[in-house]
Amino acid sequence: MELIMLAICIWTLLFSFYHFCKKRDQCCYLLHYECHKPSDDRKLNTELSGSIVARNLNLGHLEYKFMLRAIVNSGIGEDSYGPRNIIDGRENSHSLEDGILEMDEFFKDTLSQLFVKTKVSPKEIDLLVVNVSLLSCAPSLASRIINMYQMRDDVKSYNLSGMGCSASIISINIVSNFFKSHRNSMALVVTSESIAPNWYSGNDKSMMLTNCLFRSGGCTMLLTNKPAMKNRSKLQLKCLVRTHLGASDEAYTCGMQKEDSQGILGFYLDKNLPKTAKRAFTQNIAIIAKTCLSYTELLRYFVMKYSKKKATLNFKAGIDHFCMHPGGTAVIEEIRKGLGLNHEDVEPSKMSLHRFGNTSASSLWYVLGYMEAQKRMKKGDKLWMIGFGSGFKCNSCVWEVIRDLEDANVWEDVIKNEKEEVNPFMDRFSWINQDTYDPPPGSLFQKKM
């Protein structure tokens, strides 16, 4: 009898050890990430933005006012970046080359730095995932990177497209799945958005917002499941939840690329977008709360709910940092209220929107970069990344910080200068918020008239 018990114990021990080793090999570690900071000659300041808007001959008086109002209230500052063709005045006569040039600058800036800082050679990459929503070329951008960096011929590459602003989390999903069935691997994720060929030159108000919000940017990440590299890594992926509301027609059509009544291609954003975002977000929370909140918090919530008192989940009980997609001030505010957070919690997202604009799928990484530059991320902290995208999707993931992080990265100049958050557009175009048809003399609007 004792022998049988002993044998069962040994078997359980061996089995658990095997299971532990397997799980350890399946963990997803973020080794390093590099955000793209384009050169200063690509900055879109107030003067330049105003003149680009004024150049659009399709805009009538009301549309012009609407566009300026959107820029003023967008929360974007003086230093966000645009693609070269728009700055050079060729926003309506863009070519395929312009789109690819924008991507090339991003690849060369970030990938070289990434490989140098991590001392990893491109030949060690086993999986490459690229996501750029609005540019699809042949050969794919993934092949372009393989060619540029001479990767191995058995590298697995995936090129995602059309998946919206939450696509970087979808790329991380592919990587974490890959790590579960392939040991000792390295993966490279490249996420960006193509602004150059997507400037909207029509006069449909619902399509003009993208011109005001989206800016050039990108991020490259190096991930691994090698246990030996855990100590060098920054973050470990704890869980990832994807929610797709595409089944609802209202959600599906709230962010859509289509032609306007004059046949000009643009990106339509529905008025109900913040509401849809909230719905998607609620569904996503329901699943992720179970995995990342502490049991005591969950217990407290259920007790309060069943005793019919007002029950709200306190996310700060399980999460230390909130990294939300800076889609726009409305979206950030909607999530802040939904989660019961205060303004300090969403400061990184607001700062990222101010400094870099909405860089679509890569914006989450700029927010992360800000938190790291401010030296807020300590070992053991939990970080919740929330992204939204057309479709309508809400994808989120929880990371655990492995070691104290303090790399200032692309935020170095902001941290050094410690400028106060100022809305530069408000100074020049503050008249736009008043309901008057008389622009001050000498303003761009008057020149147009």
């Binding site: 061996l14 080359e97 042949a138 050969p139 995602l160 998946m163 595409g246 089944a247 962010g255 699943i287």
Partner: protein, 490 residues
């Protein structure tokens, strides 16, 4: 006499293959003969009996050791991936583009460039395409009207009808789909085509959807690879893979010759495939996935640039096919074979290959490299119907007979180059001809821009007795195979 010599060589080869492939079994015969005389004396039985009388501890620990090894083995074994069924899109007859229609439209669209019109005619004459290939409605306009609206409606028509047919055939409900992968190389709207499918069929909100784009004609196998990786991690799941190419936005409207070639070859098509890792599907599944091997030659500049989307001097976007395409395809195929060979070839072929390799390295580099006989490893070949030249090249390098490449040639003739879905039309052809038997191994090879060469190996799980009702070949299989002349005089 030469025929007798070749006959005897054939028997020698057969004999060699039989011996090498069954080496271990043949080795057992002398061992059995050595052991046999001892059995009547019951020595072995005595030995087993005395073993069973040993310490209980030893017996228990050996039993548990066996259990541990068995558990570890079953846990680390990759899950079997089954292809439950697939459907191919059959375009309506109204979209047909016979040669006369194509040439008439070409003359009207390119009326200022008679040389380009003549070039297109020469390409069409030698293309290997038939008179029943189809182009989407927007391209039938003179000049073509490739708006995003038209592209979306082509996508909806093509993808939805294919998925509807698949759901009817397999009986799967939309709520049962766990993974969705859509690949379309040259049309990628936002929201993606995968979001469009989720919206139409009201798929679940926790679906794992992926939209691959820009990955060329081999993207279908890349999607299968992604589905396989996902199905390894999620037990008891279904994956829906949709492979298509939307022609509407990609019809080249300029006059550069190298870029007019795709207009002559690419046609409408789509395929929807249902994969599963559920054990209960193993009875009704048609195929089982054995291997997927991917090779990417992007690090070589020539290979990278050989299929390249660019603007012509007038600013019109089209795909430029380089003259080195065949050579690069051959190189990519060689790399792919080097990886897949050891996985699928029988021992006899691998040994021969090894011997010639050693011989070339050590003895004499002038020895001809041995091309393994893949006909030993596969019963059916599905070569991407990229164009006549690609099929000819592969037939030559793999030493295949006309019957092996018949599926590819006939698919090119009947449906044109439907990009990533062409492999599935070819599988459907083999099934329609009644050639697919249980246990048959199929090799799907596809090439794509980048330059990629991907291959997948399937094993037939169920004999396909007669042509399936919804097969795209149902109404025309009796006419095939047709003779395709070298040049069709237009």
């Amino acid at each position: 006499m030469p025929s007798e010599a070749t006959k005897s060589l054939k028997y020698v080869k057969l004999g060699y293959q039989y011996i090498v492939n069954n080496f271990l079994t043949l080795l057992l015969i002398p061992i059995a003969l050595a052991v046999a005389p001892q059995i009547p004396h019951g020595i072995i039985l005595n030995k087993i009996w005395s073993f069973l009388h040993m310490d209980l501890l030893v017996i228990l620990s050996s039993v548990f050791l066996i259990i541990i090894i068995a558990t570890v083995y079953f846990m680390s074994k990759p899950r079997s991936i089954y292809l439950v069924d697939y459907t191919c899109y059959k375009p309506p007859v109204t979209c047909r583009v016979p040669f006369s229609t194509f040439m008439e439209h070409s003359r009207l669209n390119l009326k200022d460039n008679p040389k380009s019109v003549e070039f297109q005619m020469r390409i069409l004459e030698r293309s290997g395409l038939g008179e029943e290939t189809c182009l989407p409605p927007a391209i039938h306009f003179i000049p073509p009207m490739p708006t995003m609206e038209a592209a979306r409606s082509e996508a909806e028509e093509v993808i939805f009808s294919t998925i509807d047919a698949l759901m009817t055939k397999t009986g799967i409900k939309p709520k049962d789909i766990d993974i969705l992968i859509v690949n379309c190389s040259l049309f990628s709207p936002t929201p993606s085509l995968s979001a469009m499918v989720v919206n139409k069929y009201k798929l679940r909100s926790n679906i794992k959807s992926f939209n691959l784009s820009g990955m060329g004609c081999s993207a279908g196998l890349i999607s299968i690879d992604l589905a396989r990786d996902l199905l390894q991690v999620h037990p008891g799941s279904n994956a829906l893979v949709v492979s298509t190419e939307i022609i509407t936005p990609n019809y080249y409207r300029g006059s550069e010759r190298a870029m007019l070639l795709p207009n002559c070859l690419f046609r409408m098509g789509a395929a929807a495939i249902l994969l599963s890792n559920k054990r209960r599907d193993s009875h009704r599944a048609k195929y089982k996935l054995v291997h997927v091997v991917r090779t990417h030659k992007g690090s070589d500049d020539k290979a990278y640039k050989c299929v390249y989307e660019q603007e012509d001097p007038q600013g019109k976007i089209g795909i430029n096919l380089s003259k080195d395409l065949m050579v690069i395809a051959g190189e990519a195929l060689k790399s792919n074979i080097t990886t897949i060979g050891p996985l699928v070839l029988p021992a006899s072929e691998q040994l021969l290959f090894l011997i010639t390799l050693i011989g070339r390295k050590i003895f004499n580099p002038k020895w001809k490299p041995y091309i393994p006989d893949f006909k030993q490893a596969f019963e059916h070949f599905c070569i991407h119907a990229g164009g006549r030249a690609v099929i000819d090249e592969l037939q030559k390098s793999l030493q295949l007979s006309a019957e092996h490449v018949e599926a590819s040639r006939m698919t090119l003739h009947r449906f044109g180059n439907t990009s990533s879905s062409s492999l599935w039309y070819e599988m459907a052809y083999i099934e329609a001809k009644g050639r697919m038997k249980k246990g048959d191994r199929v090799w799907q090879i596809a090439f794509g821009s980048g330059f990629k060469c991907n291959s997948a190996v399937w094993k037939c799980n169920k004999t396909v007795k007669k042509c399936p009702e919804d097969s795209p070949w149902k109404d025309c299989i009796e006419r095939y195979p047709v003779f395709i002349p070298e040049v069709v005089k237009l």
